[in-house]
């Protein structure tokens, strides 16, 4: 046994145990760690925002390079504080409108390209795939699964006959997909858990190598 003498390892270990104590039930130790987590997260975000965004994008260009155009977003940002004045509170809509317009405008072509065009490209049976027998069966099943899943979510017409059969196949694909995703997520969480246990037993207590 080779217990760590590093104060930060002890702090990490104790906070880790405090969080694990929630498995027994809500308790003061967990609440303490939870509140520390919130406080540190917000403090960290403030520091990162200042050093990565405000200082290089606003302070340096405006005060050191004389690039006054960056005062426009600063003015838009200041409009957020109009919410504190009853008569001017409507002005908060201006930066929100700017951000929403930006977000929506960027999302339309980007989502169309990444989530529709690229996904259709990836699902098609191209001549390359038709040549490779090892990929062909999987690709045909995948294409059938995509079509049947989409048909399952098609509610504009009553599902009967062929569409009902396809919709049922869609449910099968969805259930297998949900199960596989669930299994994958559980294993990711278990991996995190193992990482924390490894930290406690190896880095803190020195019980394992």
């Amino acid at each position: 046994m080779n217990i760590s003498l590093d104060i930060w390892t002890w702090i990490s270990a104790i906070l880790t145990l405090f969080i694990f104590s929630f498995l027994y039930g809500d308790n003061p130790f967990y609440k303490f760690a939870e509140h520390i987590f919130v406080g540190v997260s917000v403090g960290y975000t403030i520091a990162i925002t200042w050093h990565n965004f405000l200082y290089p994008d606003l302070i340096v260009p405006v005060f050191k390079q004389g690039n006054l155009i960056n005062l426009i977003p600063a003015f838009l940002g200041v409009l957020y504080f109009s919410v504190f004045f009853k008569n001017l509170s409507w002005m908060i809509r201006i930066p929100i409108g700017f951000l929403l317009g930006y977000g929506s405008g960027v999302a339309i072509p980007a989502i169309f390209q990444a989530n529709i065009i690229r996904q259709i490209q990836g699902s098609l049976l191209t001549p390359k795939i038709l040549e490779r027998k090892d990929l062909l069966i999987g690709s045909i099943i995948s294409l059938f699964g995509i079509i049947s899943t989409i048909i399952y979510f098609f509610f504009s017409r009553e599902q009967k006959g062929v569409s009902k059969i396809l919709a049922k196949c869609g449910i099968v694909f969805l259930m297998i997909g949900f199960g596989a995703s669930f299994g994958f997520t559980v294993m990711a969480r278990v991996s995190l858990l193992l990482g924390r246990l490894q930290f406690l037993l190896r880095d803190w207590l020195g019980l394992i190598k």
């Binding site: 390892t9 990490s12 906070l15 880790t16 969080i19 498995l23 609440k31 760690a33 509140h35 919130v38 406080g39 540190v40 997260s41 403090g43 960290y44 520091a47 200042w50 050093h51 990565n52 994008d57 606003l58 977003p73 940002g77 957020y80 504080f81 919410v83 809509r93 201006i94 409108g97 951000l99 929403l100 317009g101 930006y102 405008g105 999302a107 339309i108 072509p109 996904q119 999987g138 995948s142 699964g145 995509i146 049947s148 899943t149 989409i150 399952y152 099968v172 694909f173 297998i176 997909g177 199960g179 596989a180 995703s181 669930f182 299994g183 994958f184 559980v186 294993m187 969480r189 995190l192």
Partner: protein, 207 residues
């Protein structure tokens, strides 16, 4: 003015962003880079509102000595200490905030997510009872994927890892793509409604 100005700004920004996507011209790219910087600056100001909100809530709890006010003191202390250390000493690799990040934020975050493994296991016990064919399929798929990812799965049968990989890359991918098409069309429709001013929920009240 109170509604038309923000709506107009939203429309102009939306159209400009769509147009710039299709233009590879350097001016278009420069415009996009500038707008990204602007967005970061505007968002930074929004953070002030968030910090004010969380600080006021905890200060109020401490002032009124509400139950659990002692935890609010710790939250405020952690917030102030981390922020001051970060602002004064920077965020470089050897800055004190890195030590806080590596020894408090990362372990706490990882442990929070890791305890979900226990709750997922108990939820799975309730949800995965094989009452129907669909539930049985879900159970079998999850079981195979979990076994395929650990050494014991390979020990039981060397086929488990490859079956798990196939499940993830074929039926799982097919189901996800089917859902993704719907989600993408939904995002595009909602974005268009916002740009064109059909969706106005974000304007808040009627004034």
């Amino acid at each position: 003015m109170q509604r038309s100005l923000p709506l107009g700004l939203c429309f102009i920004m939306g159209i400009l962003m769509i147009l710039q996507f299709f233009s590879p011209h350097p001016i278009s790219q420069q415009f996009f880079d500038t707008i990204i910087k602007w967005i970061r600056i505007i968002s930074a100001f929004a953070l002030v509102l968030g910090v004010r909100s969380i600080s006021l809530r905890h200060i109020e709890t401490v002032k009124r000595r509400k139950s659990g006010y002692i935890y609010s003191i710790f939250t405020l202390l952690a917030l102030v200490v981390t922020a001051v250390l970060g602002l004064v000493f920077g965020i470089g690799p050897k800055a004190p905030i890195r030590t806080i990040f590596n020894n408090i934020l990362v372990p706490l975050g990882a442990t929070m997510f890791s305890i979900l493994a226990f709750y997922m296991a108990s939820a799975a016990y309730r949800a995965f009872r094989a009452r129907t064919i669909e539930a049985t399929l879900l159970l079998i798929a999850a079981f195979i994927v979990m076994l395929g990812m650990v050494p014991i799965g390979n020990w039981i049968s060397p086929h488990f890892p490859s079956i798990a990989e196939w499940l993830l890359s074929v039926p799982n991918m097919a189901a996800k793509r089917g859902i993704l098409f719907g989600v993408a069309l939904g995002v595009i429709a909602t974005s268009l409604k916002i740009i064109l001013g059909i969706e106005r929920g974000w304007l808040g009240g009627r004034r």
